[in-house]
């Protein structure tokens, strides 16, 4: 479904602060695969997402989505087939618009009649039904402005916005990292259910190594703009967090030095 071939991204090329954020990254995702991505800060995880979304163009390499070459496609064109949830709950929704209106914007992937009234009654009913499946009691607050919701509720709305028209690729950029543990768990559960329901091809960045192994069916670790290792199938099933750390040590000959990741070793 997603095919990243030899992606290179160099920032500030030709200046003293030149920085290679992606160093010949190749990654292939089959349809329906759910891949978790781990790695310390500056490993290139978010850069990889930005490259796939088209926030900037690659220095080298190509990206294909569902057989189509999207390397030079404009950001909003790619967004027609890519859904993305950010870490910051503020980023994914328009705060002064209602839940219903936000969803209706996202629904435009499916219908593009610019001068029809939005949301139509039929759409409003559909949104209500979909959001009630989340079990967050949002279905009675469809006319509430999103700015009044909690972070977790906003992430749930954003997730629905990204999946109400199933995208070819779902990108989750640490989308539960800014939430309290209980809410994070809940949003993660909704995520798991939604991905399963639509068989979405998904890439999820997380700092939590335990949940990286627990969720999805493949785990990729990135470091210094490269893919360090790529675990799937039986090999992944037997892997523990300590194994991940050992794998990191073996390929880098240094210990993983990241408080945020290590602190969550015992968690969940």
């Amino acid at each position: 479904m997603l095919d990243i071939q030899n992606a290179v991204k160099v920032f500030e090329k030709g200046t003293p602060i030149e920085h290679t954020a992606l160093n010949h990254v190749s990654l292939h995702l089959d349809a329906g695969e759910f891949v978790t991505v781990i790695g310390s800060n500056g490993a290139g995880k978010s850069t990889l997402f930005n490259a796939v979304c088209g926030s900037f163009l690659l220095s080298e390499g190509r990206i294909f989505l569902d057989g189509q070459d999207i390397t030079y496609l404009k950001e909003h064109r790619r967004a027609q087939s890519i859904g993305r949830v950010f870490q910051d709950p503020m980023k994914g929704t328009a705060p002064h618009m209602t839940i219903e209106e936000n969803l209706s914007l996202a629904y435009s992937r499916a219908t593009s009649k610019p001068l029809s009234f939005a949301p139509s009654r039929k759409q409003a009913a559909l949104f209500r039904e979909k959001i009630s499946e989340f079990g967050m009691n949002l279905e009675d607050r469809m006319k509430t402005k999103v700015g009044l919701l909690s972070g977790g509720q906003r992430q749930a709305v954003t997730l629905l916005m990204c999946t109400i028209v199933p995208p070819k690729l779902l990108l989750l950029d640490e989308h539960t990292a800014a939430l309290d543990p209980a809410t994070a768990e809940k949003v993660m559960e909704i995520t798991r259910r939604t991905v399963e329901q639509h068989h979405l091809t998904t890439l999820m960045i997380t700092h939590n190594m335990a949940s990286a192994l627990a969720i999805g069916n493949r785990t990729v670790m990135m470091d210094a703009g490269q893919i360090l290792f790529d675990l799937s199938g039986e090999q992944r099933a037997g892997t523990t967090v300590d194994d991940l750390l050992r794998l990191y040590y073996n390929s880098r000959h240094q210990h993983l030095d990241n408080d945020r990741m290590l602190l969550q070793r015992g968690g969940q």
């Binding site: 979304c53 593009s112 916005m161």
Partner: protein, 297 residues
């Protein structure tokens, strides 16, 4: 009585201006200085074409002119990534020459001897038309704009003003939305100018000086009256604010000792004060907290 009616007429005509300002200032959250030029653009295009004997065509041409001016500003902001305020200033100063060119190099043009829209309405005397037409035009465009901002494309524009990042991550073209909304905003501003020219029976380019502040004052007064709850109410309050602003100005010029030329200073002070209210409130709150803290110490 005459004063009341005059203010109603002007309030409605400038109400259309306030609708345009509301789009840029509140929906996109970008104060658009193009307004200063596009109001005069509408004024002069309308006057020139009316003088040539086509008062109806003049209105449509003026709106088109305003839309064009707005899209120039919009394209500078999006395609060329020039700072929003600067793009407005650039368009505004460019328009100054264009407006003079439209009026054949003269800064004003009299329409006293030519038929204007207000003399052409069937069954209505000119004085009646001068009330009916502004009210009808303001209400018509108020309704159209409210409807537009409830369509899909209108909602996209609102989202761009609300959270640009989110819109970039969805499949909506942010640049198209911005250019479109600047066009619509300035088309309304130019329409207001076009009607004012025919209403007054003359066009004077300098009448657009400080027009942005007039529009902002209307929007802010409207919000003080109605609050900021929804976009529908926002547009209604902009027109109502324009009406109230006219009455304030009428009263101020009639009963205050200030000479008429102090009008713009008065408007500027009103707008500055209204915009400062949130900060002033905050200061008062903090001062109280400090006082309370000292009392307990």
């Amino acid at each position: 009585m005459k004063l009341l009616i005059d203010s109603l007429q002007l309030g409605m005509l400038y109400g259309i201006l306030a609708l345009g300002i509301y789009i840029s200032f509140r929906i996109l959250s970008i104060p658009d200085l193009t307004t200063e030029g596009s109001f005069a653009f509408g004024l002069s295009v309308s006057a020139a074409i009316t003088a040539a004997g086509h008062p109806v065509l003049a209105i449509f041409a003026a709106m088109l002119a305003g839309a064009l001016a707005g899209s120039v500003t919009g394209l500078m902001q999006t395609r060329l990534r020039i700072h929003p305020i600067l793009s407005g200033i650039i368009t505004m100063s460019g328009l100054y020459s264009i407006n003079l060119a439209v009026l054949d190099g003269s800064p004003n043009l009299s329409l006293v001897r030519v038929p204007t829209l207000f003399k052409l309405i069937p069954f209505l005397s000119k004085s009646d038309a001068m009330t009916v037409l502004p009210v009808a035009a303001a209400l018509l465009f108020l309704a159209l704009i409210i409807l537009f901002f409830h369509t899909h494309i209108g909602m996209c524009i609102r989202a761009v003003g609300d959270n640009e990042d989110m819109v970039r991550a969805s499949s909506i073209n942010v640049n198209v939305c911005k250019v479109l909304s600047f066009s619509i905003s300035n088309a309304l501003v130019a329409l207001s100018g076009a009607l004012i020219a025919q209403y007054q029976g003359y066009a004077d380019i300098s009448s657009s000086n400080g027009i942005l502040v007039v529009g902002l004052a209307s929007v802010i007064i409207g919000e003080a009256l109605f609050g900021r709850r929804s976009v529908t109410l926002g547009f209604i309050s902009a027109v109502a604010g324009s009406l109230v602003y006219r009455y304030i100005i009428t009263l101020a010029t009639r009963y205050s000792p200030l000479p008429a030329y102090m009008l713009k200073l008065v408007s500027a002070v009103i707008v500055a004060l209204a915009l400062a209210i949130p900060a002033l409130r905050q200061n008062v709150k903090e001062a109280r907290l400090k006082q309370g803290g000292k009392a307990h110490a």
